[in-house]
């Protein structure tokens, strides 16, 4: 597995009224081709900031991010698809127009755009809702639209920032299952930020655990569960051990 994403000593410092806050400090990790990686940690540990830096949306204060071995200087819409918290659909556009949004910016021809959008709405199971506006869709449906939009330019990388945080537990697990199905079909490299341990373990090949002040990665945990994953696996002794280990790492700093 070659590294699609590589972070080398990445850091981000915010200065506020003279005080310096090290939101992310000396973070290094790699994501391989087709790998599903999660970043877990308590709120405020800098995991979203880290993701924004990998996306090229937030400048780095130290170190560098490499995408396909090339230093990242600006957003890479062709290589990186993003799925934001709370879906972030444009309310004045229909589901189909939202999915089409990244394509419409690059002036691709209309026919190709339409068929691409239709294929992706089908992939996420929303082909019957293409003409609906975001406020007419449920939370889960909005996130499916957001995922379709993230995939519309067929990027190799999908970055997801707590995409299911606004959903209740039941829908969250359902969307996780749905995401794994889509991932199996498209084989993207995924970086998934969450604060749900179950979600991270259920979805990922590798989980990075972060802690705050300064925000840093404290452990890399390989999830040795066979695929396809099933919900029952979350009840296994192995998963219990992993969950406890992550919990230990995270809660150590709270005390």
């Amino acid at each position: 597995m070659s590294a699609v994403i590589e972070a080398r000593g990445v850091g981000r410092v915010f200065s506020h009224d003279g005080a310096e806050l090290r939101a992310v400090d000396d973070v290094s990790f790699t994501v391989g081709e087709g790998e599903f990686v999660s970043i877990v940690g308590p709120s405020g540990c800098g995991k979203s900031t880290l993701l924004m830096m990998i996306a090229g949306l937030e400048p780095v204060s130290a170190g560098e991010c490499l995408i396909d071995g090339e230093p990242l200087r600006a957003p890479q819409p062709r290589k990186i698809g993003m799925v934001f918290q709370d879906a972030t659909l444009l309310p004045w556009q229909t589901a189909a127009e939202n999915v089409e949004f990244p394509l419409s910016l690059s002036g691709e021809n209309r026919e190709a755009r339409r068929s691409r959008v239709a294929a992706l709405l089908k992939l996420v199971g929303l082909d019957a809702f293409s003409g609906h506006f975001p406020h007419q869709l449920s939370g889960g449906m909005k996130q499916r639209v957001a995922i379709a939009r993230g995939l519309v330019r067929d990027p190799r990388i999908l970055l997801m920032d707590e995409p299911f945080a606004a959903l209740d537990e039941q829908h969250r697990m359902k969307m996780g299952e749905e995401l794994l199905r889509i991932w199996t079909e498209t084989r993207k490299s995924v970086v998934f930020v969450t604060h749900s341990l179950n979600e991270a373990i259920y979805l990922s090949d590798v989980v990075y655990v972060m802690r705050a002040q300064p925000g840093r990665i404290v452990e890399r945990i390989t999830i040795e569960l066979p695929r396809p994953r099933r919900f029952e696996m979350l009840g296994s002794e192995y998963v219990g051990r992993v969950r406890n280990r992550i919990w230990e790492l995270i809660s150590m700093e709270v005390t």
Binding site: T88, P91, S104, L105, S106
Partner: protein
């Protein structure tokens, strides 16, 4: 649809009350002529070349003032919303001026600019400018940051971010500003006409009052009322259309 029917019934009841109160002389008919008589007068006024000319004069003033005030206020509002450093200084000033009843400045305007078109148009412009600018500042400020991030991640240029994100996100509040600006603008111009002009609908209405032509006075008021309500409703329908699913906008 249902509430529209109820509203029409309310209007009809009011008209009927007016009509009967006047016909049965519960109210002095010389002060409040029957509704039907006022309507008939209004109808005949619509065919009176002299009156139409005065309406035309006011209409042109209103349009010119709006065409000056709106682009200026939109530009200033956008600039002050986008440049927080400038906004910090000038936004409070604009809010202060918006809070002052501008009618107190009318005598000053008359002294400085006379009683012609210029004075009326300037008075309309100053009435409209501030409310449009304040709403535009608010519109820029309420563009959700995640939308901008999404656009950048999708490879949008600066121009595309303005066109594809700012414009539609700002539109509901901007339309509210333009609608209120137009109402303020009309108020300013009618006021200026009443007290400092020889021409226009405001002057006409005022002179009917001075010469105690109550029926014509009421017909004139009814005309202004109907025109402004029609404008307001068209603009509001537009606002509702562009703001579906968006939380901002739609208050006044």
């Amino acid at each position: 649809m249902r509430s529209l029917a109820a509203q029409l019934i309310c209007a009809a009841v009011l008209a009927a009350l007016w009509e009967t109160a006047s016909r049965l002389k519960i109210v002095d008919p010389s002060l409040l002529p029957p509704f039907s008589v006022v309507c008939a007068t209004l109808w005949s006024m619509l065919w009176d070349a002299q009156i139409l000319y005065e309406v035309w004069v006011t209409g042109v003033e209103v349009m010119v003032a709006f065409l000056i005030a709106a682009p200026l206020a939109l530009l200033c509002g956008f600039f002050l919303g986008e440049k927080p450093r400038w906004g910090e200084v000038f936004n409070p000033i604009i809010e202060f001026i918006l809070a002052v009843p501008q009618s107190v400045f009318l005598p000053l305007f008359m002294l400085a600019l006379g009683t012609g078109y210029t004075q009326k148009i300037v008075f309309g412009v100053t009435h409209a400018f501030f409310v449009i600018a304040v709403n535009t500042v608010a519109a820029v400020r309420t563009v959700p940051h995640p939308y901008v991030l999404l656009a950048r991640a999708s490879g949008a240029s600066r121009g595309q971010i303005y066109r594809r994100i700012y414009f539609p996100a700002m539109l509901p509040l901007v339309l509210t500003g333009l609608r209120l600006g137009m109402i303020f603008n009309v108020t300013g111009i009618l006021l200026a006409e009443m007290f400092s002009s020889r021409h226009g609908l405001g002057r006409l209405i005022f002179s009917w009052a001075e010469s105690f032509q109550i029926t014509r006075l009421l017909a004139g008021i009814l005309l202004v009322t109907l025109l402004t309500i029609a404008f307001n409703e068209v603009m509001r329908a537009w606002e509702v259309r562009v703001s579906r699913g968006q939380s901002a906008g739609i208050a006044a």
